[in-house]
Every structure is written in structure tokens, then in C-alpha cells.
Amino acid sequence: MSGYDFETLKVLVVDDSRPMRSLIKSFLLGFGVKEMFEAIDANEAFVEVRDSSPDIVITDWRMPPTDGIELVRQIRMDLNSPNPYLPIIMLTGFTELHRVKQARDAGVTAFLAKPISAQALYRRLCTVIEDQRPFVRVGAFFGPDRRAKRRSEPYMGVERRHVYQD
């Protein structure tokens, strides 16, 4: 049985901890990812997003003086962002519900709690690749649909969302 072929995938790993960056890159290498970039904070990461055009960003949350939430907002909202739809995995030791909501409201695609395992990272990569959620722009929010995952049945309320194809 064969699985995903990650050879063509380009991944940007953002973490201020060198051991964590090395560990994540080793896991990705094991999965078959050939092209990886790294950054130690949000500012460096945004430059890398523009220069290297990664397919996925895996970012830590707390990276003083900047943070991962700031990076997510930049990628989603900044006029200079090359790809506002870029899949972003937030990898963090902050696992409290309010933090998860904060990350979701900033526009992350997926959340992964530290400590991490190779299994969890593999699963999350697969989830992101298969993610078919539309993006929603409402008020100050722009990101993957926050309602889609919570609903197992069709939405029964009044559909207020205007649909258009990008």
C-alpha cells in the first residue's frame, strides 16, 4: 500500500527554537518532503513566503518579539501577501480552548499541539492537503470557513453568505 507522495511539496517551518525546527524538518524529510525553508520569527517568515512560495507553512505561536498569529494575519490580509489562501498549520504548546479559537479567528487552517509526534504531524499534513473548505471574508476575518468542521448536517438557518468563485 502506498501513501501520499510529498516529494514536490515545499514547506516553510517557523519556530524560534532551533531544536524544534530541526525536529520538524527531520520528520518532513522522513515523509519524503524535499524542499524545506525555515524562519525564526514572523518577519523573517513573511519574507520567506514571498521569496520561496511555500505550499504549506508550519508555524509556532510564541516567537518574541513577534508571534505566529501576526504571521497568519499578514499572510491572509496583507496587500503584499503572495498567497492569502496559503495553508497554515499552527503548532504550539498553547492548547487552551480560547487559544485555539484565537488561532482559528486569525485564519489558521489547522492546529497542532506541542509536544508533537511524527504520527500527528503526518495526519495533520494529510488533513490540510484534503481540506476542501472555502474561505470566508466577513468583517475583520478572512480565512478558512470556521463553521464547516463543526457541522455534520447541512446548515438549516438562513444562508447569508454570498458565494463566488475565485
Binding site: G3, F6, F27, G30, K114, P115, A118, I129, F135, Y164
Partner: protein, 157 residues
């Protein structure tokens, strides 16, 4: 009136780029990942020594002057890093202790003398875990340690 939500269906570039087959099976990919990380996992204890030394230094600074919010935040940040790294590198108990220390320090603006002792207990516990090389899942010990540290945090605010 609230803004009208707008739904956008961007092209799914990833599903077009990453083939669903042709790569190693998930089990093989994960095994290869663990093998690729093996040397790093062995090196972790060396890096962690630096983090623990920094945490100890920050603890000694706060102990001498009850700490200021900046010093306490610095300890929190080190503990937060240790919490994320420990279990990722196979030391689950380090993450358990780091998590407890983060819970104790988060939002604190100053530390009492007994509060400083709580910090010390956490650092000594982490040192003991490394000295005894307590790697891998330790469910019973982890449960006991979690309860014990929670009790300590409750007693000393």
C-alpha cells in the same frame, strides 16, 4: 448592520500538486521520520541543559527581588519552550512538569518566597527526570506527578 459574509472557493493547489499514491505508506513514512530524527532526539538532552540553566538563572534573579513582571515572563517563556520540546523529543515527563510551571507562572506579576520555592521544585524535578533518563511514556508516574504538582500550585498561590 453586519458585513455580508462572502464565500470564496480558491483552487486547491495542494491536492493537485501532491499525488495521493506513489509515496511510502503512512506507516513507512512515519518510521522513516522517526529514523531521520533519531540523532536529534539523542542530542536533545544537551540542548535542554542550556534551557534549564537559563531557567535556573532566571529563578535566582527573581528569588533575590521577588521578581518583576518581566523576569516572571522570561521564566514563563523558557518553561513554555521546555513544555513543547520535552515530549516532542521523547521526554513526556518534562512536558508535564513544564506545563505545570507554565500554569503556575502565567499571568503572575510577582512571586512570593514560597512561590519561588514552587519554581525551584519544578526545576529540580526536571533535572531529576534528565538525570534518571526517564524517556518515553511513563503514564503512572506522569499521572502522579501531575496530581502532585497541581496540589502544590493550589497550596501556594
Amino acid at each position: 448592520m453586519a458585513d455580508k459574509p462572502e464565500k470564496i472557493f480558491p483552487p486547491n493547489r495542494l491536492s493537485g500538486k501532491v499525488r495521493k499514491t506513489g509515496g511510502p505508506s503512512p506507516e513507512k513514512a512515519i518510521l522513516r521520520a522517526l529514523n531521520a530524527a533519531e540523532d536529534l532526539i539523542d542530542s536533545y538532552q544537551g540542548w535542554a541543559v542550556d534551557d534549564l540553566a537559563a531557567l535556573w538563572k532566571a529563578y535566582e534573579e527573581t528569588r533575590s527581588n521577588s521578581g518583576n513582571p518581566q523576569q516572571i515572563l522570561k521564566m514563563f517563556e523558557i518553561a513554555h519552550g521546555i513544555r513543547g520540546e520535552g515530549g516532542s523529543f521523547g521526554f513526556q515527563l518534562i512536558s508535564t512538569i513544564g506545563d505545570s510551571l507554565c500554569k503556575f507562572l502565567e499571568g503572575k506579576r510577582k512571586l512570593t518566597a514560597s512561590g519561588s520555592e514552587v519554581v525551584k521544585v519544578h526545576i529540580l524535578a526536571m533535572r531529576a527526570v534528565f538525570r534518571q533518563k526517564l524517556k518515553g511514556p511513563q503514564p503512572a508516574m506522569e499521572r502522579d506527578l501531575r496530581q502532585l504538582l497541581a496540589l502544590l500550585r493550589q497550596r501556594v498561590r
